[in-house]
Structures are given as C-alpha cells and as structure tokens.
Amino acid sequence: MSTSVEQVTGEARRGRGSGEVAAFRGVSKHFGTVRAVNDISLTLHPGETVAFLGPNGAGKSTSIDMLLGLREPTSGSVTLFGGSPRQAILDGRVGVMLQSGGLMPDVKVRELIKFASDIHPRGYDVDDVLKTAGITELADRMVDKLSGGQEQRVRFALATAGDSDLIVLDEPTTGMDVSARHAFWAVMRAQADAGRTVLFATHYLEEADSIADRVLVVHKGRLIADGTAAEIKARAGLRKISFDLRPEDGADLSLLNAVPGVNSLDVSGHTVRINSSDADAAVAAIYRAGFYPRGLEVTGVGLEQAFITITGEQDAADRNTADRNTADLTEENAR
C-alpha cells in the first residue's frame, strides 16, 4: 500500500507528524469472555481517508474507543502520533464526531461552537467554522431545537473547530437525507484535501466505496481486510451474471446446477441471476450446456456484495466446515 504522495502532503502541512498517525499493535479487548477486539494491528498514515467497515457488533466502536483513549486495550498498545491517545487529544491533534455524542442543551449553536474553538489549542474563528460546516444560518438557534441532520452538522462543526491532524467520525451521516449526505462528504473531502487524515466508520458502503482511499473491514473483532475498495472487491472475486431464457429455446433449467463456480443461483420467471466466483468458466459452461442466454450481462459486484462475501468467508472458516452448497457443486463438477 503506497501512500507516499499523501505522506509528503501531510508532513509538509505543518512539519509535524512522524509519518504515522495512529498505530494498533496486537490490540485485543475482552469484556469478560467476549473478545470484542482480537489481535488487531494496523497503521494509519498522514493524509489517508480511511473507511472503517463492519457489521454491528464487529468491534468498530470498541476499536474507536481505544483509538481515542476512552477504553484501555486488554493487551497490545494503541498510539496516536507516537504518544498516548489522551495526550494527542489534549494537544488538539484529533477532532472527533461521535455517533451519538449528545450536545450541551440550553445554549445557542454559536455559543457551543465558540466554546469548542476556544478550548482548541489552535481554534479557528467561529464564523469560519460555522461556514465550513454549512450551519451559518443555524448560529442563533438553540441546540436542543435542531433536527437530527442539523445536529449532525453541529457535531461535525465541533470536530472541526480547530486545526486538528486527524478527524475521526463515527457513523457521521446517520440521520441525514441524501442531499445532506452529499453536501457533508463534499465538506469532508475538503478536510482530506487539506492534508488531514480522516477515519470514518460507516454502514453506507457506497460512501466507503466513493470516498475512502483505504478500507478496513472488521468482523468478529478481527481485521479481515485492509486495502482499497477496488482491491477488496477484487479479493471477493465475484461477478454477477444475468440473462433471460426463452421457453421456445428449449431450456432445461436443472442443467444450470452443473455450472461451475456458482455461489448463488436465482431463477425468477425467465430471468436467471448468478453470483459467480468464476464468471468466465460459468458463461462458457452455460453455452456448452446448450443454453441460448438472451441479453447476457456480466458485471462486477459492488463493495456491499464483496463485504458480505468476505465476512461470510470468515464465518465459514470459523465454523471450520466448508460451505456445503459449494462443496456439493464442486463434487458434482468433478464427476
């Protein structure tokens, strides 16, 4: 994984930073007998925009808590900018937007943001912060009278009220409608373009796909994938095949079961949809079996499907039994 270009930008920004924003070294966190995080090692580099993906309960929140020093790992070490997370936060190097970070009630938006920039060692001018977060028109509103999406933007303003090097966002677009989400990510990109490192947890996979230049996938407490969205999609190796079969072509649908590399097969009416780990072989086999597929399309899957596949693979490996359907199919092919 090469991030040398971003590293230069990040370090040139202010001449501080050791080329390592955050590092997990063999980090585990146990709650009683539950292993919420299991031996995770990773390094974040300056200027990266990193998406943190995982199903609910995968260990995302626990990992973020440890990254920010809110929880201590059971074993292993977490460092931020080469020191303790707490020190990095006190130095104002980290801006954080929590998923459900409550806001101080009974104050106006401007008062709250003013406070955030005042306590930041390198706080920005309040008006600039409000403008960047797109909440200038909310400045005189009471914090407790905001809608969900407006609250999210205020939280974002809190996270960006000063000149921080790392911005951590936990599910930042929850509660925003589509246009608000787009506006939000445009602002976020500007933060990344300014050389900041951005780490965000999300369950909107298209956000990870289009915004992150690095994707981390955690599942059952383990880091099971770390790469660009394209690499992760390629690793899942899946493609979708779809076509129509017409009755007059004399199709015997049962023959489809003999097609190799099929992960899932779905026939509805005349339309056949196949998820295949070897689309080339599958298409060749379909023709060999005497089918005449109409309107044949072979497309790559999105990050979402790749995500389901690799977490599924992990589950299968955990059960220590091969996926029965795949095994049966392979056996039949071998005969």
């Binding site: 936060i89 130095d91 929590l98 459900s100 970070g101 409550g102 806001l103 306590i119 930041h120």
Partner: protein, 240 residues
Amino acid sequence: MITLTRLEILRVLRNRRYLVFTIVMPVGLYLLMVSAYSGVDTLGGVSVKAYFMVTMATLGTVSASMNTNATRIALERKSGWARQLRLTALPGYGYVVAKIAATAASTLPAIVITFAVGYSEGVRLAAGNWLLLGLVLWVGGFVFAALGVALGYSAGPDSLQPIVMIVYMALLMLGGTYFQFTGSMANFAKWTPLALYNQLGRVAQAGGSMSGGELTAILAYAAAFAALASFLYRRDRREA
C-alpha cells in the same frame, strides 16, 4: 475552562428549573414560614425572621446543587455530552470544576435575594455580619455542590430522580429548614449536614461559637462528599 464555566452559568440562568428551585421557592417559602410562625418569637436562639432567612438561603443553595446540578450531570452522561467533552483539549477535571463553579455562581443571587427579602421583613444585622453571613453561606455551599456532583455520577437520570428526592427531603427535614426537632430526635438531627450548615449561618449572623465537634463534622462532610464525588467520577471514566 473559563469558557465552559461561563457557558454553564449562562445555561443555569436560562434554566427555568433553576429559577423556581433556587429563587422563587425559597423566597415564597420564607414569606409563608414567617407568617406561619407569627406567634413565635425566637427559633434556634434567633428571631424567627432571621432563622428562616438563613434556612431559606441554604435551601436555595442546596436546591441548586441537588436538583439542578446532579440531574444535569446524570443527563449529560447519558446523552454522551460528557463523553464528547473528554475528546476535547479540556482537562479531564474541567467538566466537574465548571459545574461546581457554575453552581457556586448561581447560588449567589439566591443568597442575595433572600437577604433582601429578609431585610424588607425587618431583619437587621451589622454590615459586617451581613457580609460574613453571605460569605459563610456561599462557601459552605461547596459542600453540597460536591454532594450534587457525587449524586450526578451515582446513577442514570431515571433512577437518579428518586435518589435526589429522598436525599433532598431528608436533608431539609433534618436540617431544620422548616422546623426544629425537639428531644432525642434533635440530638441526631443537629449532626446532619444541612443542620450544621444552618447552625454555621446562625453563628455568623448572631455571634456565638460552634463546638469543635460541629466544626469537625462540617469539615468531615466536606471531605467525605468530595472523596465520594471523586471516586464516582473516576469510576465513570473507567467505564467510558
């Protein structure tokens, strides 16, 4: 931290609950008590009007700590605001310090207004005693501010309501806010925190002295509440 304190004071002043419990209620009760005790001359060694002026000022102080501050801390822990603050450059103790400072600042008007009403009812003290009394009541209020912080960290907002209610009522009943116990109950009640606080106020008001035991008890309560607050606060941070 100064910014946070300023903001906390602003919030308290905007809060209707604060106005009701810390200003309106003590003043209203004062007028009520004075008329209820119109046939009695002295209570606890001072005139009825002076007696209730002290207990109503302390009522305002205790209310600000218990009803406003404890509840707020519990709510803000639940909502995640306390957590968000821990992710800022604010030092860890800043939140609690700002809360206590804001409580202290907001009890001052309660004391001054109660004094003004007492004066208008005919309570007369030497200038030095007004000042001393005000100072004693204000500084003594920190003991209850610490108790309020401890309560705020002791439970979530829902289960806290009854806890605050019970502690608050017990303090007021035993503390002589509305009446004084007689007999064996009085011997017990006079050692409760609010009773000692009121006693301290009366001494500042009318002269006299407190026994070494009473002074020790006041300091012991202050130390115990501060230690409890600090313990519960740390436990909360460990749990994140």
